[in-house]
Amino acid sequence: MQNSRMGIPQIVLLNIKNSFARVLGLVILMALLSAVLFTGAVLSQSLNNGLRNMKDRLGADIMIVPVENEGDFEAVLLKGEPSCFYFGKSLEQKVAGIEGVELSSSQFFLTSLDAECCDARVQLIGFDPSTDFSVQPWISKVYDGDLTKGAVIIGNEINVESGENIKLFGTEYKVAAKLDATGTGLDQAVYATMDTINSMYLDAIDKGQRFLEDADPENSISTILVRADENYDRKKLIRAIRKELGGVKIIESQNMITGTAANMKSIASFMLIFASLFLITSVVTLFLVFSLMANERKKEFAILRTLGATRKKLAGIILSESVVISAAGGVIGAVIAMLIIFPFNVYIGDRLGMPYLLPSFWKILWILFIDLLVSTLIGPLSAALSAVKISKAETYLTMREGE
């Protein structure tokens, strides 16, 4: 007969095998905790990234749109819902002349046809390169030439690559570059100079497309972007714009960012509270289960002591069991969370209706590491007291207990 010594790993495996139902319950609990922690951390980071990019991307301090189209404009920026609305081009000149306006530039919006380039309509944004201060700084990061007529720059979520052509209103346009992802609705937009937008507009009219009020790029614009003089009183400037222009809505980008940030804060707080409650519940449950388990198995451990197991070994058995359970749960939970968070990230972002951009690969790896570390440590920390108790118990007294 072969004589083999049983070490801690063999004993731990046998214990897990013999109490499979209890171990499965604990692994499920730890998996849920790990999934909640990982999901919460990635969601918060993604929302933060989105907000930061939105702040950077807006570029303008004040945006002026037709009075009834504030919601449409915000939907373009935040959700990428294409829209077109217009007012007279003459307003741009008036704004440029107002005291406290450092820079101003207008944009002209069109929407593409369904099922043309991208199956869904996309926002087409025309800008004037001679006055623009909000789009070109971003374009210069990915494209160093001048955007010529017939060329476009596309947002990161348009499924065409740089150098390829994109078909809009029946005409092919060269994609000069693809912008970096921002997590905002602007990722689904196509940018072109006013010349190019004008030819798109004429093609659209040829195709029978009718835009609101039959506005055209020669006489109409969709929005005026304003960079305010830093030393000029912002409220005074807004009053002046309101006085000069009637029937317009003045949107302060700071207010828009503050509003979005407040929504994000509520989501982040909810996730934090939920994750904390889950963490506390898991620790308490594990603590109770390991205490009960240690109590149930007192005699088993006393027998192991009589057979020569050291106190350290007994504590090692309990701690190893808890590490195996919590690490297994941690890994399973993280995998489940990753199967939800990454493949469905566009859907999650859309449902949240806020700027949403996943963190970088290394950031995600760091979150995963912390998640697995926390999940793995919770087990042994919860079992530590039971391990100490078991290792200190007097073998003789334990064996005689109940006699």
Binding site: D119, A120, D350
Partner: protein
């Protein structure tokens, strides 16, 4: 027995989700304004067929005790699951817009279901193969014993 029921039920659920999901829970986009269907509609139709094939093969798993037959059925299911993954990505595809329902929801759902099924299928085949090996060893031992006995009879 446990493995047969568990794997059969899991694959039936997977098959039904793949078949019915793109029409209901994670539905593809509806028809366009002109009434024409987009690519994703045909992906959903293809998945409907494949999903039911998976569910049918999974039902057969429940009825066959032989590990070897079940391994064969598993291979059939794995092949169908590979098709489940390739239909929305390569073979037919979905709509181009990243935020369209089929691209944001149906495609990832099919990919996740397919991937889970393939991993589970391969793991179960490996498990069943160890069972077959044990069966073969015990059969070899048994037949060796029979030969000894029969030589005694002579």
């Amino acid at each position: 027995m446990k493995n047969r029921i568990a794997s059969g039920v899991i694959f039936i659920i997977l098959g039904l989700l793949i078949a019915i999901g793109p029409q209901t829970i994670f539905a593809v986009c509806g028809p366009m304004e002109n009434g024409k269907f987009m690519k994703c509609h045909w992906t959903a139709q293809a998945e409907l067929g494949i999903g039911f094939v998976i569910a049918f093969l999974a039902v057969l798993i429940l009825f066959f005790a032989s590990s070897q037959i079940r391994i064969g059925l598993h291979f059939g299911i794995i092949a169908a699951l590979v098709a489940t993954v390739f239909i929305p990505t390569k073979l037919i595809g979905v709509c181009g817009g990243e935020h369209m329902q089929c691209n944001a929801l149906t495609k990832p759902a099919l990919l996740v279901l397919g991937a889970i099924g393939i991993v589970f299928g391969i793991a179960n085949v490996a498990y069943l193969l160890t069972g077959v090996k044990k069966e073969q060893i015990s059969y070899a031992k048994q037949s060796h014993g029979d030969t000894t006995n029969s030589s005694f009879e002579y």
